[in-house]
């Protein structure tokens, strides 16, 4: 294997593909980080919520004639609303017990949601046509870039930037950060923290749904699409540091790029490289690259 014999075309092409995956990782791990920060729960339903976004977009198109752009708004709202119901009716009850119960509950919910959809739709993937406005692409010289893929990167980064600004620069973001640190004092200041927790869970779930709609035209829409992706996303969250907002965005993007790079130099390892990085980070910096040591 000789790294220097690799053509820049191939390298740049794979890095760009990595960036696309990485931007989806970033949106998904960002949602996980927000939920973890406020609920202290690793949301195992996240993959199912991502899948639900894609399936809702697909079903909207096939049964209601809802176009992609409407789906990009309504599917995340639906997924967020379902998330709010889950938080209010189930997770809320587990707030005062060990957080492991929350993890188990969300894991069980993911299995139920996936199982139900497998029964309804089967396991075969359904193609979802992207928006006609983004058909075609451009020749970058080193690769042909479909406009849709470029859009996925732009939309993901915009969502990440928007969420980051919301959390770091606004009043409600200050409440979220404060609630992550010391929710009881925030209550004593007169903030309805349980409501904040519900909204944060809904927002995290909606981000997953948003990523799902973005992904629908890229991959086949299937009830199992979430469980394939989410394992990598959990690794991303561990690498970035549980609950770190910026960490999850930066790590998501860089892990996508590292996967792309590995596809060039040693393709066999491309699906494992993220876990290798995770293992190394856990050994060297157990709190994650951006996490605060407990």
């Amino acid at each position: 294997m000789d790294i220097f014999s690799i053509s820049p075309q191939v390298l740049l092409g794979q890095l760009l593909l990595g960036l696309i995956n990485g931007s989806l990782y970033a949106v998904l791990s960002l949602g996980l980080a927000i939920i973890f920060g406020l609920l202290n729960i690793v949301n195992f339903t996240h993959g199912a919520q991502y899948m639900l976004g894609a399936v809702l977009a697909w079903a909207g198109l096939n049964y209601l004639g809802m176009n992609y752009w409407l789906a990009l708004i309504f599917a995340p709202l639906m997924v967020g609303a379902i998330g709010i119901i889950i938080e209010r009716t189930m997770l809320r009850r587990l707030a005062n017990v060990d957080h492991l119960y929350g993890l188990l509950l969300t894991f069980g919910l993911a299995l139920i949601i996936e199982g139900l959809l497998v029964r309804m739709l089967g396991v075969t993937g359904q193609p979802y046509a992207g928006p006609p406005e983004l058909k075609g692409g451009m020749n970058l010289g080193f690769m042909f870039l479909p406009y849709y893929r470029a859009w996925v990167v732009v939309a993901s980064l915009a969502a990440c930037l928007g969420a980051w600004l919301l959390i770091e620069r606004t009043k409600i973001g200050a409440y979220l950060r404060a609630s992550t640190e010391n929710p009881n004092l925030l209550k004593a200041f007169g903030i309805n923290v349980p409501l904040l927790v519900t909204l944060a869970y809904g927002f995290g779930a909606a981000l997953a749904g948003f990523a799902g709609v973005l992904a629908a035209p890229l991959f086949q829409v299937s009830p199992l699409m979430g469980s394939n992706l989410i394992i990598v996303v959990f690794a991303v969250v561990v690498i970035g540091g549980m609950g770190s907002i910026l960490g999850s965005i930066v790590t998501g993007l860089s892990m996508g790029l590292i996967e792309g790079l590995t596809k060039v130099v040693y393709p066999e390892a491309s699906s494992t490289v993220v876990f290798v990085v995770m293992a190394i980070v856990l050994l060297v910096r157990p709190a994650g690259l951006f996490g605060k040591a407990a």
């Binding site: 009043k171 004092l185 007169g190």
Partner: protein, 241 residues
């Protein structure tokens, strides 16, 4: 509108037979305290006597509480914490509770307004000039004294006029303790009602209208300002380790 000196002896806080629990541990065994508007009282006692728990119980930050806590005429024993705050209470916890992920100014602006008539940010920076200089620092980069001032300033902006202050002089240099004493005198003059949990009796003595001595979750002695000289020995016997 600034809080005025209240002429009428309205009760801001009346606690009757308050019991409080953390999990299974029964911490308060029937506390009775009452405060009129504009009064400053202290809760004196040894560590673990139940003074901090009394403040936390007023805010609903204990696992369970029974009895009665009337805040400005409203029963709060069954109210959720965030609604109690909106009756106009400002709570400054013992650990100060400065948020490390927020800047000084974000910390200052964090608590929502609970009533009209809070101090403006300018007035607070005038009262605590150190905070103005460090407004863009992370909250926990401040010194202990500055963090305490921030914790105080934070609740003065909200319009709360009933302040629950827990061990605000703990671990601070004498010059800062003196500064806090001046601030409390000024607040009292402005008509604030204040419950002060204090270890430092010499700090508290000249400020307070009344002292409640708490022991084993009960109020065992009430000492009025006038009785302070006569009861010094008694107080010392309660407070000595």
């Amino acid at each position: 509108m600034q809080p005025e000196l209240y002429a009428s002896p309205d009760e801001d806080l009346r606690i009757t037979d308050l019991h409080a629990f953390y999990g299974e541990s029964h911490i308060l065994h029937g506390i009775d305290i009452s405060l009129c508007r504009g009064e400053l009282v202290t809760l004196l006692g040894r560590n673990g006597a139940g003074r901090t728990t009394t403040l936390r119980a007023i805010m609903g930050l204990v696992s369970r509480r029974t009895g009665s806590i009337m805040v400005k005429g409203q029963e709060t024993i069954a109210m959720p914490t965030h609604r109690i705050a909106h009756l106009g209470i400002g709570y400054c916890p013992e650990e100060r509770g400065i948020y490390s992920s927020l800047s000084v100014e974000e910390n200052l602006l964090l608590p929502p307004k609970v009533a009209s008539g809070g101090l403006t940010v300018e007035q607070l920076y005038e009262m605590f000039p150190n905070l103005a200089e460090r407004r863009n620092s992370r909250g926990t980069q401040l010194s202990g004294g500055e963090q305490q001032m921030l914790a105080m300033a934070r609740i003065l902006r909200t319009g709360a006029d009933l302040l629950l202050l827990d061990e605000i002089t703990e671990g601070l240099a004498p010059v800062i303790v003196e500064r806090l004493g001046e601030v409390l005198t000024r607040l009292k003059g402005m008509g604030y009602t204040i419950v002060l949990v204090e270890q430092n009796f010499h700090f508290a003595a000249p400020l307070a209208d009344r002292h409640y001595v708490v022991e084993h979750g009960h109020v065992v002695e009430t000492v009025l300002k006038e009785e302070l000289k006569a009861k010094t020995d008694l107080l010392n016997s309660y407070l000595s380790v």
